[in-house]
């Protein structure tokens, strides 16, 4: 005697008929396409695979520092630049002598500017910077450029960060803070920004006037210029350290510190911040930028003058080039004209993730942003991997 005797067995057949009926009654017109779903549409709008942009305007601050205002290249399918979160960056791809070079640039404009069809980056000349030099010297209004969607997590997160952010900017590290300040002024971010902006002279401090103007109208924005090579009324003098942070930090209230600037600034500021005894969650860095000179690390014991063979497999095709010990695998591929994916170039985003088929590489610990299983199964980020022998890697093709 079963407990289930009261349950009719014949329902199995009525269930069959229910299905047959439901399918029969359904439409035979083609299934809805993905764009008909709001979530898919929004995903496409917020995270385009790539953005076709055109230079609308170039604002030269000097021969070595210019702002590029882009608009969507409608002909190629980009109506307007994608909305983003202040603090994010775009990867800009340029073709020089038949080779593709990609570099991340923080967005200087506000998210709301995209609604007007604009997005702006700031480009500063970097020593031996192939891409910055090319952009500064060769690009003119109307030129087309290929960019990524907005990327990066140097953003303000209301559930994580304190209501007050001390921004520490050095040099062109001011770029994302211009975006933060504008986003606050336009109501798209809600926090108080106290910006400590380090430069040699006031004249070097680009965007100061604009941010000052925003600060005048908005109590949530404060700008403090910190000049290392001149003394000026209304400006602080010296470097941004513990004393200065404490002078401007809110009392008896948590605050977050956001840092963006050159390596040297991080090295100095980090030591100073360490003395403040802040919890780790309150200190956030923009990515450190590309890693050079692995030989400066104590755990690097190989011959830095060696040159190795790098074999690259992409979708079943094989390419090869040489790679000096002190050059990242990504840079070597780039120099050889081998197209490989990359975004942050700082070990963090994982977009260049590739499989190490054979050989050994050195990965500086401070920029090893890999997943645990990637380490376990032999996957690397070529942007932060330096050869210790001949190396074979399998690299995903560049999309599109």
């Amino acid at each position: 005697m079963s407990d289930l005797n009261n349950i009719p067995r014949a329902d199995l057949f009525s269930m069959f008929f229910k299905r047959i009926k439901a399918v029969k009654a359904a439409s035979d017109s083609p299934v809805k396409d993905l764009d008909s779903y709001p979530a898919n549409r929004l995903a496409k709008e917020l995270h385009p695979e790539c953005q076709h942009l055109k230079i609308k305007k170039i604002i030269p601050f000097s021969d070595d520092f210019k702002c590029f205002v882009f608009e969507g290249d409608k002909e190629l399918g980009t109506e307007k630049p994608a909305w983003f979160s202040a603090g994010q960056y775009l990867v800009i791809a340029v073709e020089i002598d038949g080779k593709t070079y990609c570099r991340p640039y923080s967005i200087a404009s506000s998210p709301r500017d995209t609604l007007k069809g604009e997005v702006m980056i700031a480009v500063k000349r970097v020593n031996e910077g192939i891409v910055s030099g090319y952009l500064l010297d060769n690009m003119k209004e109307g030129d087309k450029i290929l960019a990524s969607g907005p990327l990066g997590d140097f953003t303000y997160e209301p559930l994580r960060d304190a209501k007050t952010v001390i921004g520490i900017a050095g040099g062109s590290g001011i770029t994302p803070f211009r975006s933060f300040a504008k986003a606050i002024a336009e109501g798209d971010e809600d926090f108080s920004l106290i910006l400590l902006y380090g430069s040699r002279t006031l004249e070097d401090a680009v965007f100061s006037d604009e941010i000052k103007a925003l600060a005048q109208d908005n109590p949530k924005i404060t700008l403090v210029n910190v000049l290392s090579e001149e003394k000026k009324k209304g400006c602080e003098n010296g470097f941004i350290g513990k004393k200065l942070i404490l002078k401007y930090a809110p009392e008896n209230e948590n605050y977050s510190i956001f840092l963006c600037g050159p390596q040297a600034m991080y090295e100095f500021a980090d030591k100073e911040i360490a003395q403040l005894g802040l919890r780790r969650k309150f200190i956030r860095h923009e990515v450190f930028g590309e890693y050079f000179h692995p030989e400066k690390n104590e755990d690097y014991t190989a011959d830095i003058d060696a040159v190795y063979n790098l074999t690259v497999r992409i979708s079943g095709e094989e390419y090869s080039c040489s790679c000096p010990a002190g050059t990242s695998l990504l840079r070597a591929m780039e120099a050889a004209g081998i197209k490989a994916p990359s975004d942050c170039r700082s070990g963090r985003c994982g977009w260049c993730r590739s499989q190490l088929i054979s050989g050994d590489v050195y990965i500086p610990q401070s920029v090893d942003g890999r997943r645990m299983a990637d380490r376990e199964f032999g996957y690397i980020h070529p942007c932060c991997s330096f050869p210790l022998s001949d190396v074979v890697i399998d690299v995903p093709p560049v999309k599109g």
Partner: protein, 502 residues
């Protein structure tokens, strides 16, 4: 032009298992994946000093029977070894309100019955009978797998199988005389299948519950990315080739309507068999519509999309112990009734919070812990008019409400400890998975689209020659183990076809 024996489209759980199985059988196999990582949902990501699990709550293992299609058996057969940790408890379930309760259930057959008896005195016998029904159901399924069944035997000896296969979980449980409260506690897992228990197929639900109870839930140590990479490693060891960033943009058919290849990266690649790990809707959208049987289009149009989620991945700068978080899985509901939980899904009806550190010791650095909020949402719930500029606020506001509810319900304080947070929504899933409406559970298992009918009609529905499917949209429904299983089953069929056609 490149030619393979088999092309697998999509490196999700089903695709990875299917690809590995056909490669192991000696066929030249290519897996094409649109993202730069394998696994689909089965992945992880790093933020600061945390590595977050993207999707897995717990694997429904099946280690009792080595010949079955449980995860462990599939992995073993494919030569995949991943160290796993077994959970001692199934879950803690907290139902708010007057008729609410706060119960923890042990895993393991006896432990489960003990904790049920403790929660609802006197329920043990009825719950035991319910669990024990699984033995007959297994026997019946074996019988059905071995040729055409004798109707008299099916209706007689396996009558209870027929009953469980054609009724809802609630109907079947009621017949065992399981007390209301005990039933509601056992129903806690419904969210894993996405259909409330008054409409969820009894055979489907019992199979899952019984497996979690008897075999215990398991977790890999290094997130589900480790499962995916272990499968990729095995796949490659059998000579398989996997290509990332390689979205298939077209399925190619011959004049007779058989699938013969795909287009990826602008190039045509041919194969004798194609296995799609991507949902039929997406395949049809990139196919010549005259090649798709009308009945297949009707079926796709008749089906309802299942659950999606808003998920929050939170890294805390205090340990679970310091914060007073004791459990791995906590289900928080505002009613004991699963239908009400489903209907109130946007308003705390039912949500899950996992603290990985309580399942996998050392999952994050000492003095830290990780929380994973899973907030269910149906495709139609996502605001149709949400603008790009309001999206960040929308997702943060949504999750903030739930963090506050969690703090209040558990009596813990986490807001001040959030060191990292990432929030995924249907938009995120649409971005990475390209599923319709950013949905996760593919087709809902409700009503006539339950696993029993999917299985039966899989042999009846008209198919596109040389094209088969596996994954969460397959006959076993959503979930890791189901996707792995359909991968294994599909591979078996494809291998048999290839052998016949030699």
């Amino acid at each position: 032009m490149e030619r393979f024996d088999v092309i697998v489209v999509g490196a999700g759980n089903g695709g990875l298992v299917a690809g590995t199985a056909v490669a192991k059988a000696g066929y030249k196999t290519l897996i094409l994946e649109k993202h730069n990582l394998p696994g689909g949902c089965a992945t992880s990501f790093v933020r600061g000093r945390f590595e977050f699990e993207a999707a897995l709550h717990e694997l429904c293992d099946s280690s009792a029977n080595e010949n079955d299609n449980g995860v462990k058996s599939i992995f073993t057969r494919l030569g995949v070894e991943v160290p796993m940790i077994y959970e001692k408890t199934l879950f803690r379930t907290i139902v708010k309100g007057e008729d609410g309760y706060d119960v923890r259930l042990n895993s393991g057959y006896d432990g489960f019955l003990d904790s049920m008896e403790q929660a609802v005195p006197g329920c043990r016998e009825s719950v035991k009978k319910y669990l024990d029904l699984m033995a007959l159901l297994n026997e019946a399924q074996d019988y059905l797998n071995n040729g055409v069944p004798n109707p008299a035997k099916l209706m007689g000896k396996y009558g209870d199988f027929v009953r469980a296969a054609s009724h809802s979980s609630d109907e079947i449980m009621a017949e065992f005389g399981i007390p209301e409260k005990a039933k509601n506690i056992i129903n806690t897992y419904w969210g894993y299948l996405g259909v409330p228990c008054d409409d969820l197929n009894a055979l489907h639900y019992l199979s899952m519950v019984e497996s979690y109870v008897s075999n215990k839930p398991v977790m890999p140590y290094h997130r589900s990315h480790e499962l995916s990479l272990a499968l990729v490693k095995a796949f490659q060891s059998y000579g398989g080739e996997i290509r990332y960033n390689s979205e298939v943009t077209e399925f190619i058919y011959n004049s007779a309507g058989a699938a013969v290849g795909v287009k990826a990266g602008g190039k045509e690649i041919l194969a004798r068999k194609i296995i799609s790990n991507i949902i039929p809707n997406n395949v049809f959208n990139i196919s010549d519509e005259t090649k798709i049987p009308k009945s297949a289009v009707k079926l796709a149009n008749a089906r309802k999309l299942g659950l999606s989620f808003i998920t929050a991945y939170i890294g805390l700068d205090a340990s679970a112990e310091e914060l007073g978080i004791e459990d791995y899985s906590v289900f928080i509901c505002n009613s004991p009734d699963t239908r009400k939980q489903f209907e109130d899904r946007l308003n705390y009806g039912m949500y899950v919070v996992n603290c990985l550190n309580n399942a996998v010791p050392g999952a994050s650095e000492e003095g830290t812990s990780m929380l994973f909020f899973t907030l269910p949402m149906m495709p139609e719930d996502f605001p149709a008019d949400l603008k790009a500029e309001d999206y960040k606020k929308y997702k943060n506001d949504y999750v903030k409400r739930y963090i506050e509810d969690y703090e209040k319900t558990l009596g813990v304080s986490i807001s001040d400890h959030i060191e990292e947070i990432a929030i995924a929504t249907p938009v995120t899933f649409a971005r990475y998975l390209s599923t319709p409406a950013g949905n996760i559970y593919a087709y809902s298992n409700e009503g006539w689209d339950n696993v029993v009918l999917r299985t039966v009609f899989d042999n009846i529905d008209k198919k596109i020659p040389n094209l088969s499917f596996c994954g969460g949209h397959g006959i076993r429904g959503d979930g890791y183990s189901s996707a792995y299983m359909t991968g294994a089953m599909t591979a078996e069929k494809v291998i048999a076809e290839l052998r016949r056609e030699m």
